[in-house]
């Protein structure tokens, strides 16, 4: 009897945890908006970066952690979103919000456009393919005068205040968290994880592999493009080197790997760590780069599940003895039952 309700209860518990986690997170990050004076403008500045990177990392985690699609093409979609938004605001006079939605569409469309090519590549080749994609788009933008060439575009309207930008970034982050929580706790993620674990076997049990990957790719790209759009609003001026720069792709990857790939809290932990580190070492850019690289190596070598995974296993080890015995007891009871 008991075993019959167990799996459903198990899934519900997981869903509850996700919801509780999201609520706490949103409340903590949203707090400066409600309470005036809680943050200085420097604080808002850092907060904006944190939220943007967190959104990107969440989206990237869906691809890499749940779909096994380790992409180095984040910059393509980030940049495409930025250019779409700036173009619509400058030349069509659109307000920010509809322009931001249009960048999401642009990101998803670009993903759909390149998917037949990049999905032909598997594993590491996919990673290299997406890297090549981002570089190709960057070179295209530099050499095409239609999009302002290497100088890029300047915004015709002044950027809003940093507080407003923070609010928008928060809204985007909330949106991303909701979308990804729904994605990850739904049946969509079951197919996605199956594709990650064994594409051929998934095919053989009826999963339409291409569609499953495409949906995840488009969802993640749309979110990345919106983040790019927001960055364009903040900068007030965009150019290909910055918007399509490889650093966006690499930063996001290091954030998720250091935080914990495939774990719900991984992107958050990683972002806080990376942003804090970069603020702390802001005056020494060379040292900063070297240290980030070193940490990345150490984490990959010693804690493949990132800081979050490390924390979870340490926590389990501390409280483990009791739970483990409990589990062994349950298993023992089970086999005793089977023996009659």
């Amino acid at each position: 009897m008991q075993t019959q309700i167990k799996p459903a209860a198990h899934a519900d518990a997981a869903a509850c945890r996700t919801i509780a986690y999201s609520v706490v997170l949103l409340a903590v990050v949203g707090f400066p908006i409600v309470v005036p004076g809680a943050l200085s403008s420097y604080g808002f500045e850092v907060g904006f970066r944190l939220l943007l990177l967190m959104t990107l990392a969440e989206a990237w985690n869906l691809l890499a952690g749940y779909g096994g699609l380790v992409s180095l093409g984040t910059a393509s979609f980030f940049g495409a979103g930025g250019y779409m938004l700036m173009g619509l605001m400058n030349f069509a006079g659109l307000p920010v919000l509809p322009a931001l939605l249009a960048s999401a569409v642009a990101g998803a469309a670009l993903a759909a456009l390149v998917s037949p090519a990049v999905f032909r590549l598997k594993g590491l080749y996919f990673t290299v393919g997406t890297l090549a994609l981002a570089e190709a788009i960057r070179l295209f933008m530099i050499n095409t005068s239609y999009f302002g060439g290497a100088t890029g575009w300047f915004a015709v309207v002044d950027p809003p205040s940093v507080q407003v930008l923070y609010l928008w970034a928060w809204v985007l982050f909330v949106f991303a968290t909701i979308v990804l929580s729904l994605y990850v706790s739904s049946r969509l993620s079951i197919a996605l994880k199956a594709v990650r674990d064994d594409e051929a076997a998934a095919d053989q049990v009826g999963v339409r592999v291409f569609r499953v990957k495409l949906l995840a790719f488009m969802t993640a790209s749309a979110l990345m493009a919106m983040a790019g759009g927001l960055q364009a609003v903040k900068l007030g001026a965009i150019e290909p080197y910055g918007m399509f720069g490889i650093s966006w792709s690499v930063d996001v990857l290091s954030v998720v790997i250091i935080g914990g790939i495939g774990l719900r809290a991984g992107p958050l932990v990683g972002t806080v760590f990376i942003v804090a580190l970069s603020e702390w070492l802001a005056d020494y850019p060379d040292v900063h780069l070297a240290i980030t690289g070193l940490i990345l190596i150490v984490v990959i070598r010693c804690a493949p599940q990132g800081l979050t995974g490390l924390a979870i296993s340490l926590w389990r080890r501390r409280n483990g003895r009791r739970t483990q015995t409990g589990r062994a007891d349950a298993a023992g009871a089970q086999s005793a039952l089977e023996r009659g």
Binding site: T3, Q4, K6, P7, A8, H10, R187, I190, A191, K193, A194, R196, D197, D198, A200, A201, A202, D203, Q204, V205, G206, V207, R208, V209, Q324, A328, A331, Q334, S335, E338, R339, G340
Partner: protein, 546 residues
Amino acid sequence: MTVDSSFKAMDGQAPLLQVAGLTKRYGGVVAVNDLGFSLGKGQILGVIGPNGAGKSTLISMLGGALQPTEGNIFFNGRNITATSAASRARLGIGRTYQIPRPFLDMTVEENLLVPLYARSPFANRKIVRLECRALLEKTNLVDVADWRARDLPLLRRKRLEVARALALKPQLLMLDEVGGGLVDREIDELIELVRQVAPETDGIIIIEHVLRVVRECCSTTMVMNFGEKFAYGPTEDVLASDDVAAIYLGSAHKKQGRAEGANAAAQAGAEPVPDAALSQASHGLDSIVAPPRTPSGEAAPELLRLEDVCAGYGQARVLHGLSFGVKAGQAVAILGCNGAGKSTLSQVIAGTIKPTSGSLRFDGADITSMAPHRIADLGIAQCLEGRRIFPTLSVEENLLLAARRVAPKEQKERLDAVYRLFPILAERRGQAGTSMSGGQQQMLAIGRALMSRPRLVVFDEISLGLAPVIVDRLYTALDVLRKAGLTILLVEQDVERSLDLVDTAHIVSHGNIVLSGSAVEVRNHPGLKDLYVGAGHEEPRESVCV
């Protein structure tokens, strides 16, 4: 094209599956050649044949993972040759993989949700959960529902493989060697499961080396050889055929109890050939078999001694105080069913798992906490379960790897000795190790274990997933090695064959030795059947074997 028109004529009466002119070529190699057969509704078809005959290629083409070079496949009268694998799965073709391929980082339950949701993406969640539960119960996986598939032992993975295929509610179910590596009791369960699901499907294709499954489940059997249909007909007739005996059944034919068939098979040259070749090979095995260091006239000393060895993985205790010895020049078998602790035992001897208590001595030296490579240096070689051939190395490189620090002249002698033992390896010396058939790979694994000129070799499950005729060949080779003075520790499930070879046998159950004695004593022990073969249905399922 003629097939197409004949189908229209039959209209509505179309068989479940019709295959015509099916061919698969890889470059110049023909894996399947012009194969044609049909499967009527409600039929269970067995497919047997030597390793490398193209059976798994056939399944892959039917399932859609491989595109045939030529030919057509009709399912319910519809040409599905160009249909994708995913669409075929949705049409109701389910398959299992010979080597289980569960989604490793998902739970067992999630593994089953994949096909359930793939089949009906918008199904009510509660109903899907119930279906999932029913499948878990049917395949005996309820207790591991929330385990990660990666943590499952092989046997459970096989069950999950079957459960996953069943989750598609397949009209056509294809089982690719699900019986491999199971003992009799588990095969009973498998046969029972096939019978249970048969009415829910419209047809089943079973590829199997375990002949009992074919004999008891399949009405019709097809034999494949070199990618072609070698024989096709009612199972009884096919299994009694002398031609089939010659290419595939080997000595398994004799056990069927049809004496005249066995004699005919012997006349057809099924067995004397390898024997003749091997008797030649037995000369000059000195280069790969270290002579037991026994002063003449004295009783052979113990080469390996295990004393009260306990071992396990984390919380799970697998071995509970095993003690036994292997004398120099002796052949000893460790028998037991899946999960009894046999593989753990061979890993403990190899040094890759350290015992939690107890001691191991080899030739007087304490090897309990010695590093694996040092143990290998002392002269214990491993022929590992699952063969573990290095895929990127050629056959010869695989062999030479085990004799790295040896003078070139000596290396040459050892290679020659292995090639004499298994001439096919000489022919394939430049080929990639894993490009050969399963039987040839197993020969390579045995050859590699001998290349270090070991004093003791642990052979772990060498008969797993191989055609009976190949297993005959391997055991004949082991017999030659034994006669040449090699000390052998055989870890096996195949009781009959092992007892034919060894001097002493130990039966392991639940990590304890429950029966020891000479091969004759063990064979005649009345408890053997209850302990191991498991005819005892009064015992609850799984209590002994899992």
